[in-house]
């Protein structure tokens, strides 16, 4: 374990197309408690309520959905920052759902996370050098030429001036900060990076820089991304496959173009049609579906199909029976709906 490069070779070499991460029935219920001394549980926020998906080696799975639907929670569960209340997470064949912190250590190198907020994801009291060196520090890894050299290489790779090693995060702009976060995530040559809305907080021009960077890195390092975002355009741009979440459930999952061109779930339809297209003429062309109301509270989600309260196609059965996520249309395309759409949107 001398250099980061040999490091990478020593570890099981991922083969493109293999399943890297498999999530089954993943659940996260946040207990809602009451009481001052003796707390009792009075309910649960069902942030993630039984979802299944896989991420293959080197691919990008996009995860979209409205605010509060459980995207970040999923990301945090996958990186084991949060303890699942149900289901399993299998990484390269190992069940890591409930591994202890010690046992998790080796996997920490393989799964990394990038956060949304470039301000809160960097410790303002540490220099960039320290921040990017933290993975080596924590994992106790020595690199040839010292940590500093490794860090500077990383900085150069993500487009930061290596001489800025000693600067503090507040001296960087949002986009640069996001690069610092990416460098940190890259340090240990992970196989999977969970990107929790890494570009939502950035200006369009900067957003494009970062998206391009992520693209390049994926190619260079054979990375797989679990890419969380609420912006359907960004997701379309970066993902190989896309999963749509609604209230803690995956309602539809498919290959990218399949999903955008042949969406089956009404919710996906609504989402797609709500995106304002930067093209004055298209406004008239596109069909408009306007959802009413807001996402219901995950504290007590609607019975049956969770989308039925906002769905124009809802019938009695939707309240009684929860539609399973079933394959529909092209292979790998599944949707959870009693009355899937037949037409295409875009």
């Amino acid at each position: 374990m001398t250099t980061s490069t040999t490091e990478a070779t020593e570890r099981a070499k991922p083969v493109k197309g293999d399943v890297l991460l498999e999530v089954k029935g993943l659940q996260r219920h946040f207990p809602v408690t009451q009481g001052i001394i003796f707390q009792r549980q009075t309910g649960a926020v069902k942030a993630v309520d039984g979802i299944d998906f896989t991420v293959n080696v080197g691919e990008t799975l996009g995860l979209v959905g409205e605010s509060g639907c459980g995207k970040s929670t999923t990301g945090r569960l996958v990186t084991r920052l949060d303890e699942p209340t149900g289901g399993t997470i299998t990484f390269q064949g190992t069940d890591i759902t409930h591994l202890s912190r010690q046992k998790m250590r080796p996997f920490r190198r393989d799964v990394q996370i990038i956060f949304q907020d470039p301000f809160s994801s960097l410790n303002p009291r540490q220099t960039v050098g320290t921040i990017i060196a933290a993975p080596f520090d924590i994992q106790g890894i020595k690199t040839e030429g010292g940590t500093k050299k490794a860090v500077q290489e990383l900085m150069a790779r993500v487009g930061l001036n290596p001489e800025h090693y000693n600067r503090y995060p507040h001296e960087f702009s949002g986009g640069q900060r996001q690069r610092i976060g990416i460098a940190r995530a890259l340090a240990l040559r992970p196989k999977l990076i969970v990107c929790d809305e890494p570009v939502s907080a950035l200006d369009v021009s900067i957003q494009a820089q970062v998206v391009n960077l992520l693209d390049d890195l994926q190619d260079d390092f054979d990375l797989a991304y679990l890419f969380v975002a609420h912006d359907l355009s960004v997701i379309r741009h970066i993902s190989d496959r896309v999963a749509v979440m609604y209230l803690g459930k995956i309602v539809e999952i498919a290959e990218r173009d399949e999903l955008y061109n042949h969406a089956r779930h009404p919710y996906t339809h609504a989402l797609l049609s709500a995106v304002p297209e930067p093209d004055p003429d298209s406004v008239k062309r596109r069909e408009r579906i306007r959802l009413t109301g807001d996402v219901p509270s995950p504290l007590n989600p609607p019975s049956g199909c969770r989308f039925r309260t906002r769905c124009w196609k809802a019938e009695d059965i939707c309240a009684e029976q929860e539609p399973p996520l079933l394959q529909i249309g092209a292979p790998g395309h599944s949707a959870a709906c009693h009355f899937p759409e037949e037409r295409d949107v875009i």
Binding site: I37, Q39, R76, T79, R80, L81, R101, M104, R105, R108, V111, Q112, I113, F115, Q116, D117, S120, S121, L122, N123, P124, R125, Q126, T127, I131, A134, P135, I138, Q139, A156, R157, V158, G159, L160, N161, H164, Y165, N166, R167, Y168, H170, E171, F172, S173, G174, G175, Q176, R179, G181, R184, L188, A201, L202, D203, Q209, N212, L213, D216
Partner: protein, 348 residues
């Protein structure tokens, strides 16, 4: 995205990576931490510098008290009822206040700030030694309070759950104590207990130790609450998650990630706690539960002098002024430190 002014000052873009070229006029700025920025701001703040000077001076006085007193020529506890020639310095027929010097203060070439009524002790020497008492007690109490408060607050905030509940209740209880009253009542008691348990005689050193202990013991809860709140919120910041996702354990997170972010709070709180403890020590000595006789303490001096302010106003004036200045200096410095550390900056 809020762009702070400092932010806007570093106008360079991303650096050589695919097509992102370095902007031409990327200015080379020294890597400056928030602490360094604060320090730079502090250095520009004249009031802060002045008060820091006063504080350093006071600390020097406290440390070198014996030397200073050697120069002035009179010990803090020496009675000087007569001068070298045997002439009485006190008007013994009228209650024993100094019969010379400005406003009956006994000020003279020998006794720079006059002498104490009835005993003739040198006020300058007592003032100098009183500095020791004040600072020692205040600093000791502060260190203790900050230490306990930080540890308890961080532990409660980091581990949450039942640990937090337990410590939170403890803080509630500590905060519900009428602390001044208990400090007052407990100082003698604790001194007694210490005597009993450790066989330490109720000396002045013990008394001061007890004062520090009691002040610290009743002072930590408030800070702990603040630290707990901050820890809770810092813990939610994503850089903590980042560290955890790299496999960092609680110790790493607490000491490397959270503690440095608490430092400004702790610093501000410390600079504010010190003057309040200086006042508290003076108050306790004033009330008669402070240090032991004949140890000089400003509060004790004020308490004594309060009987004499009419015939010997300067006796009250000097310790009062000393107390005022030190507290003022610490408060000023505290304000400046807070402003300097405040990212929103700008006192005006």
């Amino acid at each position: 995205m809020t762009l702070g002014a400092t932010e806007a000052q570093s106008p360079e873009g991303g650096l050589p990576s695919d097509h992102i070229a370095e902007t031409a006029e990327a200015k080379q700025i020294e890597g400056r931490s928030l602490g360094q920025i604060a320090w730079a701001r502090l250095k520009k703040d004249k009031l802060a510098i002045a008060s820091a000077c006063i504080i350093i001076l006071i600390i020097a006085v406290a440390i070198f008290a014996p030397l200073i007193v050697k120069i002035s020529g009179f010990g803090p506890n020496e009675f000087n009822q007569t001068d070298a020639s045997g002439k009485s310095l006190l008007d013994t027929a009228n209650g024993g206040f100094p019969n010379s010097g400005l406003w009956g203060s006994g000020m003279s070439k020998e006794h720079w700030l006059g002498i104490e009524p009835q005993t003739g002790r040198d006020i300058f020497a007592r003032l100098v030694y009183g500095t020791r008492t004040s600072l020692l007690v205040a600093l000791g109490g502060t260190v203790l309070a900050v230490l306990i408060g930080t540890v308890v607050g961080m532990v409660a905030g980091y581990f949450r759950g039942w640990v937090d509940t337990l410590l939170g209740r403890l803080m509630d209880i500590m905060l519900s104590f009428p602390s001044l009253l208990l400090i007052m009542a407990l100082t003698p008691v604790v001194a007694d207990r210490a005597k009993d348990m450790f066989g330490v005689e109720d000396t002045n050193a013990l008394r001061m130790g007890v004062l520090m202990f009691v002040l610290g013991f009743f002072g930590w809860a408030y800070l702990a609450r603040i630290v707990r709140g901050q820890t809770l919120s810092i813990r939610e910041r994503e850089f903590v998650d980042a560290a955890r996702s790299l496999g960092a354990g609680p110790a790493y997170v607490i000491f490397k990630q959270i503690l440095p972010n608490l430092l400004p709070t702790l610093l501000v709180y410390t600079t504010l706690l010190i003057p309040s403890y200086i006042t508290a020590e003076a108050g306790l000595s004033f009330l008669g539960v402070g240090v032991k006789e004949p140890t000089a303490s400003w509060g004790k001096m004020i308490s004594d002098a309060s009987n004499w302010y009419e015939v010997d106003p300067l006796y009250l004036f000097f310790p009062g002024l000393a107390l005022f200045f030190v507290v003022l200096a610490f408060n000023l410095l505290g304000d400046s430190v807070r402003d300097a550390l405040d990212p929103r900056a700008g006192r005006s």
